[in-house]
């Protein structure tokens, strides 16, 4: 698995201001949120730790987050979903299918088929719809906040959410139908 290099880390500008959150502060506040986004996107529990590190290294390289009308969670969710997309692309479909059995907290739990189908259906959405769908349906982020964070009109968020729901249902049914 590819991890961020030292050069990636050093490329970040070191700034500190009252309305600025550096990567370490973001990690302390939203580390679990990023881990949850990654895991729900299909990243296995054993890889979540490394990818969380990668996500915050990207945040560090981008110079942290300046507080404003948007919330840092939306920004971090974008980073996390792109890292998850790269993670899925690197995994070979034949050798590394999504885990049927996952280890969580030292307890081996059976990963049921609905979860795998839901994850597969999630990745059949395009990137914009997937982000809106996950933020609104799973994280409870309001539509206007999503619109502000993404820099798009609220109506676009609604339309993307509606289209994402329909596509998700179709994909789940397709996965369910033998």
């Amino acid at each position: 698995m590819r991890h961020s290099t030292v050069a990636d880390v050093n490329a970040a500008p070191q700034t500190s201001s009252p309305g600025h959150l550096d990567a370490a502060a973001l990690f302390r506040a939203h580390g679990r949120f990023v881990a949850r986004m990654l895991h729900r996107s299909g990243v296995t529990a054993s890889d979540v730790d490394d990818l969380v590190q990668d996500a915050f290294l990207v945040a560090h390289r981008r110079g942290g987050f300046d507080t404003g009308p948007a919330k840092p969670t939306t920004w971090l969710a974008q980073i996390a979903l792109r890292i998850a997309a790269n993670y899925r692309r690197r995994r070979k479909p034949a050798s590394a299918p999504l885990e049927d059995r996952d280890v969580q907290g030292g307890i081996e739990a059976d990963s049921n088929a609905p979860t795998r189908r839901a994850q597969d259906a999630l990745w059949k959405l395009d990137e914009g719809k997937r982000l809106v769908f996950m933020l609104f349906e799973l994280e409870g982020v309001p539509c206007d906040e999503i619109a502000t964070a993404l820099g798009i009109p609220v109506g676009t968020v609604y339309s993307r959410l509606t289209a994402a729901r329909k596509a998700f249902v179709a994909a789940v049914r397709e996965e369910t139908t033998p």
Partner: protein, 223 residues
């Protein structure tokens, strides 16, 4: 247009959508955020430390390269100066080694004896057989071999370049001939005095100033 409600809380939601969302929402990784923060900060510190070492290595390398370049530049600039000093010290020697230009009379005699333009070497005439060899370059340019010209007895080869000694001897010989034609007696005595090592105070027996041959005074063409 009503605001959308989350599908999980909406009773009108499609069951498959609700089931999928419930499955995804149930995924909660057991992630240790504190350990992750420590690892992240350690990574940043290590990266900064590595950056410091890299900067130090870069600075050291640049300094070494600059010092080396300066040394090479100083050496290359000192070499022309040494060569200039050496050439300046050789200039007086070169000036002293220069030969005096020939006098106009000598130059005229040289022009008479030898041509200005060098020609391929020809067989020496019998009269100048003992003359020193002309200085020819060791490697001659590739040319067609010159044709052998018939030897003319008694005629000096005009193509033989003459050096200063031979020119001086020819001049002395011409002067002696002129003096001999004008004042034969005094000229013979002068020659005898000049060749004092071989001549005696008294002229040889059978010698007559009017019938004098060069052989009698010890003169030969070889000089």
């Amino acid at each position: 247009m009503s605001l959308p409600r989350p599908a999980r809380t909406d009773p009108a939601t499609d069951p498959s959508l609700r089931a999928g969302l419930e499955a995804l929402a149930a995924l909660e990784p057991n992630y240790d955020a504190a350990a992750g923060v420590q690892r992240f900060e350690a990574t940043l510190v290590a990266a900064l430390r590595w950056t410091g070492r890299a900067k130090l290595a870069v600075v050291t390398t640049v300094a070494v390269v600059l010092v080396g370049a300066a040394g090479l530049a100083a050496r290359s600039s000192a070499r022309p100066a040494a060569e200039a000093r050496a050439s300046a010290s050789l200039e007086p020697l070169a000036e002293t080694a220069q030969l005096d230009p020939p006098t106009p009379a000598l130059a005229a005699s040289v022009q008479v004896v030898g041509p200005a333009t060098p020609k391929p070497p020809q067989p020496l005439a019998s009269g100048v057989a003992d003359q020193p060899e002309s200085r020819t370059p060791a490697v001659l340019p590739k040319r067609n071999p010159p044709r052998a010209q018939p030897e003319v007895p008694g005629r000096p080869a005009k193509s033989v370049p003459l050096d200063d000694v031979l020119t001086r001897e020819m001049r002395l010989l011409n002067a002696t001939r002129r003096q001999l034609a004008e004042q034969p007696q005094s000229a013979l005595w002068a020659i005898a005095d000049a060749r004092g090592s071989s001549s005696t105070s008294a002229p040889p027996s059978g010698w007559s100033p009017t019938r004098c041959s060069p052989r009698m005074i010890g003169w030969s063409r070889s000089g």
